[in-house]
Amino acid sequence: MTPQDIQARLKTKFGDAIGDLVITPDAAKPTPKYYENFFTISPKVWREAAEYLKFDRELLFDGLMCVTGLDDKVKLTAVYNLYSYIHRHRITVKVEVTRDEPKMPSAQPVWMHADWMEREAYDLLGIVFEGHRDLRRVLLPEDWIGHPLRKDYVEPAEYRGIMTWRENLLGKLPGESYDPKTPIGGNQ
Amino acid sequence: MFELAQYVVDKDFWPLSGLGVLGVSILLMIAVSVFLMHGFFMPIAGVMTFVERKIAGWTQARIGPNRVGPFGLFVILADGIKLILKEDIIPAAADRPLFKMAPYAVLGGAFMTMVIIPLGPNLIPVDLDLGILVYIAAGSFVTMGIVMSGWSSNNKWSTLGGARSVAQIISYEIPVGMALLPAVILTGSLSFQSMVLAQGWAPWQWTMFHNPGLFIATFVYFVAALAEINRTPFDIPEAESELVSGYNTEYSGMRFGMFFVAEFGNVVVISWITVLVFMGGWHFPGEQALVQNWFGGTWPTLVGALESGKAVQFGLFNLIGHATLMAKTVPLIILIVLLRWTLPRVRIDQLMDISWKYLTPMGMGATVMTAAYMIWPGWGPFPEGAGSGMALPRDMGPMRVWSFLLPVAFMAFCVGHALMASRYPWKPGRPSKIKPAEATS
């Protein structure tokens, strides 16, 4: 099924909770045929929409390819790339949440693959997925402050006494603590 | 040992004779055990490390140790010195006395078996007539050592390793006992020396080919002994990839060295025992003739030879015997080493299955069959006397001919089938000419 039919089918089922299909974000340039066609689903309906996407006879999106967290300074988005191994068609769905209240229903009960993917989105972007099996940080230590992939993230200088940067010896301007004349060390 | 002490006292060697027979024999025992441990067991274990690493290297397309000394032979000293120089750390929360005692128990167990192994016609430290029981007892002594080391290192992985080794070694003592039983029935005695004396030099005079049951018992013993000393495919207690190194994880320096020496010593010991009990020991073809014209028909003894001044012939006679024993043991050692670099490791529950479902029943079957051979008229018990000359299987009763040919045929079939199955055209050795990058100057 083409993305348009998929979007229309969902539109009929869920009404205006479904955004319209975005084909070419940059309308000026003709889009190469591979661009993602996506549409947004509002978090309120997302859980039912997910089950519908997976179990509807026409759609059968059993393979969740990838869950990506996005932050564009205004809102946080979770992008679900779905693929159907049976019908061999694919679609991209976006669920947007606001930055100050980043809660949305989790897709983990529908696709088990979302379990680790959503934990990573939570860990790196701070999107909270309700109904997730065990939402913990997956890559960063439990007591890490902040979510690194956010645009406004500032990396802390040290974590529990371990420095997270190394003094860039190149940055020294001539005349500062080193002078070019010093013989280069090592077995040059 | 006592005749020698008596001989020393009679000959009135000045300093020794004053001690009386008992004193001298104790002194002799100490001297022999010191010689055995340092002169024989340690070098054997050392050479084994070199042989193992060289074979491992070659099978894996690398050179193996060749840096230190001619052909890399000094790697034995290098390892030893390295281990001695390394600081042996005792973990803080370890159970110190147990931790320190464990390697000695393991090494002690390995040495115990050395005392009862006849390395030549007369080269046997003490010819105990309960030889096999001492050997099996040594096995459980080693288990105690391993459990001590596993438990006392206060490390979960070592404890797991220790627990595994208890299960493994104890449950493999049954098949070892079961496999040695038919040989004991056949030769009528528990002492290794008399077992060897009952056999002859020709394969059809070996206990191994006496009857199909004993043929199976040989392999049952070999596999069970491999498990006794934790060699692949049964090296589960110190499984590097699972338990980080099992019971000897926390050991370092010479303490670890002792586990090392014990393991390699054990490899040589079990190949000796296999050859002695099942494959005709140190018998060599011209044995009877030599005894006839060198010692006038009587079986040489140390004291007899010393008195009649035939020490040189005695030494030569034992040397030939020892040489044939080593000639049969070295291929077995190489097989054990090769097995380590060919087979993967068995899981702990499969290990138990093999012992209880396969090896023990086969051992019992072998015992029953050998007993049948002993009492059935015409099948004939073992020919009496040492190496009954050049007798051919024909004149040892018709049944014995079949029970010799059947196992040989089975072995030929297995090897042939494996060779046919691995006949894929590998063009090994001469790889098609791929030029290494142009070695221009």
Partner: protein, 374 residues
Amino acid sequence: MTTALKTEEITLNMGPQHPSTHGVIRFILKTDGEIIYECVPDVGYLHRSIEKIGEKVEWQSFIPYTDRVDYLASMNSNWAYSLAVERLAGIEVPRRAEFLRVIVGELGRITSHLIGAGALALDIGAATPFTHAIRDREMVNDLFERICGARLTFSFVYPGGVAYDAPPGWIEDVLEFCDYFEPRIEQFNALITYNKIFVKRLAGVAVIDTETAIDYGLVGPNLRASGFRFDLRRDEPYSVYPELDFDVPVGRGEVGVLGDCWDRFKCRVDEMKESLKIVRQACRMLPTDSAHKAKVKKILKPPKGEVYVRSESARGEMGFYLISDGTQNSVRTKIRTGSFSAMGVFPKVARGMMIADLIAVIASLDIVAPEIDR
């Protein structure tokens, strides 16, 4: 525990430094003796936040980082990223570059499977197959070193083509390697694949059927081992794969149950044979007229847009989700890798298993720490 004897669970810490967790991964095991009750994987020890660097670095300068995402098959990850950038920026790749990419990609797949299969044999206890695999891998490394100068992190496939053209005599040496390596796979099989102890250790262990595999997002050999014939090179063809004929090996449940550890191992070994076939065809069909790299502006500014492109790397589907807003830096570079999803399967599969089996499952799923943590 109904027995009167009071027994306690052991909480074992397997990793992050453990000889067979294939990099720094940690499994917190609750075991009763040998049987595992509960296995909780804990990753992140090798997290370099490559995705954040992707937003800071230009499009073409990100290539050296894709090497470090999956350093065992870095050719394939370079290729996956370049494919995504080409589709984003609409770059046409000359035919010779496409064929060079196929040769180098399939050789990369062979090296990765050699390590995967060798490491599984080593974790089960057999050291020789691993060393033989490494020796054959070194020969491919020599070929890579002659074409691109590096032996592990190649940075060879760029958006728009390949960094350097093949040196003279390189293609003949690749063909010669194929002739040399074909029988070596048979030797590997004779040595370990059908060995009874190896089979008993792997047959029927950690069975993952197709439905669970799809649900947990398993891809590549892990998915195909469950009998489901799905390969991106054939089902979502990219580059010149439609012109090459090769078949996709699938688990057949030869020794144990369909979809167990042994099938995953056998899938990888068979895939090596297929890759050899592909490399031979590509070497013969390599055109000599077209260039090895398309003209690409130094500072690449792809038009606004998003694209999710996936290609078949050694560990299955490696997907790049790239968002560009017309500048030279990407807004978001998401890397979807096979090992990360394979980690999710452990809690389900490891329950009731023995520790020795868990080691076998880790090696059979062929997970690699940098791919999980990125």
